[in-house]
Symmetry: C2
Subunit: 453 residues, 2 copies
């Protein structure tokens, strides 16, 4: 799955997508269906989402097909008739996709993406599309929060070892970079996504030498331009003193120690003490890098306590979005055969039909409120956000590079008023439903209630 | 990554593994290193772990090599010297692995796996091995807890759409099956791992028809042997009555409706009401399947409230281990060049040297306590748990099939006394450190403190 295609992953789907498809095939149901992807509810302490994962979803749709070995496997389950399996071999995605560009900010209930196409094609894609967009949106949102806490300080993704699997490891590197991180420790992600990569040494490196200072010297020999010494293997202050000695040995050779890394203990107090030791030794150019359990909350606490940290390695808690490890992300049928549809299941409202999100800005250019409306509405002085990305199964606009999406995110994020960026209990950003959509919603609900209850 | 190999994923590593390797290469450090993989601390409400992921770790080690395009990428970073990159091309894993078989129960601080080999080889593998074992162990442990809550009722993995990526989707299906689930909705996992697959219809299926009952009839036509009707799209009780009508129509044709599925609302109350309606209609053979936010806690609550549910679809909360989305899993150098080593970093103790875990059983065959000792110790009346799986870079025993590992887990789990299976605040299972290991640990710590502080 290094880059997952629809040809490799056609079977990466829930069985019910295929059983429903088989029934649609038997009933000769091939009319256009529209599915809408959205997040129902903010997890704790979230007040905005950062859209990510669209490139993977589109790539999957553009390449979706069932290979012979997939068909053979499905045949072996004895669930499906031969006519349906023959039909499946011919399935390609021929529909359209409207979506928010990656790096967009969006809010509860707003569609991130809407897929329209013959119902079998649009239904089959459900599982993959939710999976791709849920993960990267989850991580981009978490990573954006860390950048809010860190201000101008640099953040590097250090999460690979404890991400939930390989694919997550790669996508976390991508999504955190999109949301403002400067790079990752993940070498394969660096290669695949053209990301800056970071890293120098682990505790094992230090303990493998006969003494800590010999380890430091050996590393400086190997990487005179790129030495960041990990100083907490035995004791952070004792380690800092040895790092200073090595920095002075390097300086005598005309080299500069780049930094030291703290990885345990009271980060604020230790960073203050280490900064003082470095500065007293004339090493103001040596930066302090910190890692070890950081997320937006620990970054904020450490800075509030006066921590002198120039850059953070942000690992597991960002990489699994530990305080909110999933979004309540759904892909719901909103229209079939020209008819807007809805379910009524307890506590789960879905807005019907093809939609658009409209955004208003105040006179300083800050985001002032959104309206979810019908796709073909026009709302005065508001910008429509969903764009057509795919038409008749083909991309209809070139996708921006990841670097361009990152720039787009950074520009957009500045426009979100500060109060919504609060790390704890942010207020609700205003999202209205247009009168036209409200009227249609009420009409469909009345029809469904009359008929089914 | 459908099956991730070390040839495809040599670069799926933290950059520091490569910079350390480059320094070891320059310093001519090629002696044997031993790394120990263990979990430092139980997350909330955990009192045991279920080992999983070993097959992936071993497969990676057996196939590890850097391809030409990997080397070209590393060269492009300008971090590494040509001699080192030439050497990297030749790197293969030539060491040994001792590990707990998949499906084993283990506890805090106990090594799950120990890798010994030339330091560069054993160090490079760190990131991949932690990633593989952390994820599957996390999920197998979470899934085992769900089986405790469910008792004899069947559990099916429904998590794919919101797992953290594609790899997680596959591994969650595998690990939950290992821990006693009966199968998954994930078709590709079914194909790859030979798992039973489950699924019938979504709400979108129901809403795409002009009425709910027509949707039910169409599905029964397509899958007369395998119809489970989702009855909560509009109203669960109204849906149940339509399902009963369709079941009676099927019965008139000599067919049996397999089940109904509830997916929202008060599951205990609704399942009791639906069971009564079914039974009153003479449909006692129709099973009730429930999904929607289930984890071990919701299963237990629903059963405590008298819920009449035969099987559960367990989704997101299991698939991301939502209440504990990572383990504090570490891979630490414990011995290099014949010398036991340790770090002293605040709050992080690592037991030195090659180790073994010994388990005692009481006279009913129940687990009575473990001792972590030195690898070459023998402890009377206790069973050593770590087994050699790889020697000189090759598998030294055939790996059991997933089905065999599942059987092994089920056998072992019966031996864990009930109190440790409590879903909330279980007591600590007794784990001792052998006198020989304690003595060595004290000696190494004294030496390190004398030298470094």
């Amino acid at each position: 799955m290094i880059r997952a295609t629809g040809a490799d992953y056609a079977l990466l789907t829930d069985l019910y997508e295929l059983t429903m498809a088989a029934s649609y095939f038997e009933e000769d149901m091939h009319e256009e269906a529209t599915f809408s992807l959205f997040i129902r509810k903010y997890p704790p302490n979230r007040g905005y989402f950062v859209a990510a994962g669209l490139e993977d979803a589109l790539n999957y749709l553009a390449t979706l097909r069932f290979r012979d070995d997939d068909i053979a496997y499905l045949e072996s389950t004895r669930l499906f008739k031969k006519e349906f399996l023959d039909y499946l071999k011919t399935v390609r995605f021929t529909g359209e996709v409207w979506a928010l560009p990656e790096g967009s900010l969006f809010f509860q209930d707003e569609p991130i993406l809407e897929v329209s196409g013959p119902i079998i094609e649009a239904q089959l894609a459900e599982t993959f599309i939710i999976n791709a967009i849920n993960l990267q949106t989850l991580i981009a949102t978490k990573a954006a929060r860390a950048t809010v806490a860190a201000g101008h300080r640099r953040l590097v993704d250090f999460s690979l070892r404890r991400t939930q699997g390989i694919d997550a490891g790669l996508k976390v590197a991508r999504a955190s970079y999109l949301a403002g991180f400067v790079g990752t420790s993940n070498v394969l992600a660096g290669k695949l996504y053209d990301l800056p990569i970071f890293g120098t040494m682990a505790h094992s490196y230090v303990t493998s030498f006969s003494s800590e200072i010999e380890a430091f010297r050996a590393f400086a020999r190997a990487f005179p331009q790129n030495t960041v010494l990990l100083i907490d293997t035995y004791d952070t202050i004792a380690g800092a003193k040895k790092a200073i000695q090595v920095a002075q040995e390097m300086a005598a050779r005309g080299q500069k120690l780049r930094g030291v890394r703290l990885d345990s203990g009271d980060m604020a107090a230790l960073s203050i003490a280490v900064r003082r030791l470095l500065d007293e030794a004339g090493l103001d150019y040596v930066t302090i890098f910190a890692s070890g359990g950081f997320d937006e909350f620990k970054i904020a606490r450490t800075l509030a306590a006066g921590g002198k940290i120039d850059a953070y390695g942000v690992g597991t808690k960002m990489g699994v979005s530990a305080d909110a490890p999933y979004f309540d992300c759904a892909y719901k049928l909103v229209r079939y055969g020209g008819r807007p549809v809805m379910k009524l299941s307890t506590g789960k409202v879905t807005y019907v039909d093809k939609k658009q999100v409209f955004r208003r800005f105040d006179d300083q250019g800050l985001m002032a409120g959104d309206t979810i409306g019908r796709r073909d509405e026009a709302i005065a002085e508001a910008t429509p956000l969903l764009q057509p990305f795919m038409s008749k199964g083909k991309l209809c606009q070139p996708l921006p590079s990841l670097h361009a999406s990152r720039e787009y995110f950074l520009q957009e994020f500045v426009k979100l008023p500060m109060q919504y960026k609060s790390l704890e209990n942010p207020p609700a950003y205003p999202v209205a439903i247009s009168p036209a959509l409200q009227a249609l919603q009420a009409e469909v609900e009345a029809r469904v209630r009359r008929q089914e209850l």
